[in-house]
């Protein structure tokens, strides 16, 4: 990453934090202005809506240019290399000379350069029978994503690099073991990298993105359902599975499915890392669903009511416990919003209601359908056409 890009990245981190402090009412507008002057920004940034539009239109323009050249019978190999080099050059110019950051267009060209590079490599190494060397391409893609992420500081490349590494490992016969070993090997370095002061904020975010992928891969490798389905024993993720489900080591996966989320929750609390806490909660829910799949302790409605009631009760009790502490906090955790949570929640809140909306009434057909009661399908306004 260029030094000026890294400096701007660090400065923007402080600027973004000060904007969150201001929106939370911790500092006034005058102080915000002073902080923004103290940490100036020399990048061309755009509003999020413009960023989305620029990203989309850049993708459409590049895809159309590629299609036009292909229709004009430009050789595919040359075209792919031309497209890859062109995208790389465009990204460099935008991030370097034009000083663009989070501006949509340079992110689109960066992703396109990755995609075209992989396609170009695939074209070069395609064998006579028309098959692609997938294992090699996955390794190459992992390296390219890591280099792109390092150079341009886009966090999505962190996740892409990790995904490609695990895809490459899935072609080995000992894929499951190699997934676990690889995940455990990179876990500590990624945890350190995601908070390392040496790294630029965008590199730390890339490490976070890679960390999420690695934890998901680790969970998948030890998950009982994935083990029984032989997800990693197929030679490739999409290949057929002909093995038996009663293979040795099944009990280890039962333990793994239960223990990994607990470890993540404990790690999140101990290391004070929100990312680990969130992953622990999400994977914990996945483990509970797995438990319900294998062990029918009660009818589904009891399980749903009990787990829903437990979730509400835990939320309420945890809130009361934290709020009753000195200063509304206990052990460094608070149930109050700090900076930025409130404004994000306002956007999400509107979507929450919509997600529970009822189905439509059938226009012009007022005949009443029969009761279905399909597990909360009636939940929204309470009255869909299916109720």
């Amino acid at each position: 990453m260029r030094n000026d890009v890294e400096a701007a990245d660090r400065s923007e981190d402080v600027r973004a934090a000060s904007r969150a402090w201001n929106s939370a009412g911790t500092i006034d507008d005058k102080t915000l202005d002073a902080i923004q002057k103290e940490y100036p920004d020399d990048r061309s940034r755009v509003k999020p809506a413009f960023r989305v539009l620029l990203f989309l239109f850049t993708f459409v323009a590049a895809g159309s240019a590629f299609a036009v050249l292909e229709f004009n019978e430009v050789p595919m190999g040359a075209l792919l290399f031309l497209a890859a080099l062109g995208s790389i050059a465009l990204t460099e110019v935008q991030i370097g000379e034009l000083r663009r950051s989070s501006a949509g267009a340079e992110e689109a060209t960066a992703l396109l350069s990755f995609w075209f590079s992989i396609a170009a490599l695939g074209w070069v190494f395609e064998d006579a029978s028309g098959d692609f060397p997938w294992r090699f391409l996955c390794v190459a893609a992992a390296v390219l994503a890591a280099v792109a992420g390092w150079r341009w500081g886009l966090s999505i490349f962190g996740a892409l690099a990790a995904v490609c590494v695990f895809l490459a490992l899935s072609f080995w016969s000992g894929a499951r073991t190699s997934w676990v070993l690889a995940a455990l090997a990179v876990l500590t370095p990624l945890l350190s990298a995601s908070v390392s002061p040496r790294l630029a904020p965008s590199h730390r975010r890339a490490a976070d993105a890679a960390l999420v992928t690695v934890l998901a891969a680790l969970y998948l490798a030890v998950h009982l359902g994935a083990y029984d389905a032989g997800l990693l024993e197929r030679g490739s993720l999409l290949g057929p599975f002909e093995g038996a489900t009663d293979r040795p080591g099944r009990s280890l996966h039962i333990v793994g499915t239960a223990v990994v989320p607990l470890f993540l929750l404990a790690g999140g609390v101990f290391l004070r890392r929100p990312l680990l806490l969130r992953m622990g909660v999400v994977l914990g829910i996945a483990s509970l669903v797995t438990l319900r799949f294998y062990v029918h302790v009660a009818p589904l409605w009891i399980v749903l009511l009990a787990s829903g009631g437990a979730a509400v009760a835990v939320g309420m009790l945890l809130n009361r416990y934290l709020a009753s502490g000195p200063g509304g906090e206990r052990h460094g955790f608070t149930a109050e919003p700090l900076f930025g949570e409130g404004s994000r929640a306002r956007v999400i809140e509107a979507g929450l209601g919509m997600a529970l909306a009822p189905g439509s009434t059938p226009s012009g057909t007022p005949a009443k359908p029969g009761f279905e009661g399909a597990g909360g399908r009636f939940g929204g306004g309470g009255a869909s056409g299916k109720f």
Binding site: I35, A61, R198, G315
Partner: protein, 385 residues
Amino acid sequence: MFDIAGLAARETSFARGPSTLKEKYKPSFASPAKYPPTTNVSGRVTLSDNAFHDNSKETRNLGVSPDVARAVPHLGECGLLTEAQARRLLRVARGELLSVWNELRTLLYAGVVLITAGVGFLVRENLDRLGPVAIAIGIGVAAAVCFFWIARHAAPFTWREAPSTHVGFDYVLLLGVLLASADLAYVEARFTPLGPNWPWHLLFASLSMTALAFRFDSRVVFSLALSTFAAWRGVSVSFLDREFWPDSGAAARLNAIGCGVLFVLLGVLLVRERRKEHFEPVSTYVGISLVLLSLASGSLTDEPSWGAYTLVLILAGVGLAAYSLHFRRRFPLFAMGALAVYLGLSRAVVPSLDDETVVFLWFLFTSVGAIAALVAVHRALEKSS
């Protein structure tokens, strides 16, 4: 005097020992003051290439936001933050004070969804055993318990944004509303009091939800009320319901446009009358989404009316983009308008192009033109602000 060293000595660490923390708080943070920003010939502010580089050699753990953790003491020394502010901000930046506000709300929302789903299965699997009256009464009692809790914890009514009294308030209210609506729908389905006019119970549910949303200041319930109203008019705006698109005939489209316009007008009214102004974005965004999606749906069909839909889509997009930029500075609305214009123009032009190469040339040149226009608009906005 800002006493960052004293602050360091007084702080305690939860994850690591105090001695480590003291070391970490040493006032050795490099600041941009060492590397003042310069202005280049084009007048743009430039950061020195060396800025932050002394800090980047620092390997001590500075928490989850190391750059912010470095900046806070510097801002305190500059007099921009008080000691109390700096202490709290520093704790947050270092991860010593974490908020689980979002996690708690997610947990409560998940709980509400699970309970609602559980009630659905309870009714289906125990209908014969319990009987319809017992089920209706049971769900009603559960809803009443939720509303009783809400009544006890509610803040006094205000037309402005009310402060939240409890992290679970919105979710218990949502649960009560969902259970009451489910009960209403169940009664309607089993006992048929409205007969062939059964969809009207959706209007009643929507109006009741609106009243509850206003009384208890809940955006979640307000958005549910809007989508229930749309459902009454035969329009499903649920993210989970995909029935809208495949059989979206002219009647459903016109109903959706009507609902959308009504929601936008409701938003205007809320702002003009200064009544629950913070509900206006929900109303406006849902309304405009309905209008544009309906117009796009009509434009993409092969029906004879596609030309009219396309023309209105382009005009609506132009109007929305211009209005959102010049009057409200709402950039998401601008984006929606710009996309509507592009879609409408492409729908109007592309079918008349025979050659595939020409089609892609159209997308190539119009996309490049759109990028240039967006950059120009953004620059103009920056200058004007």
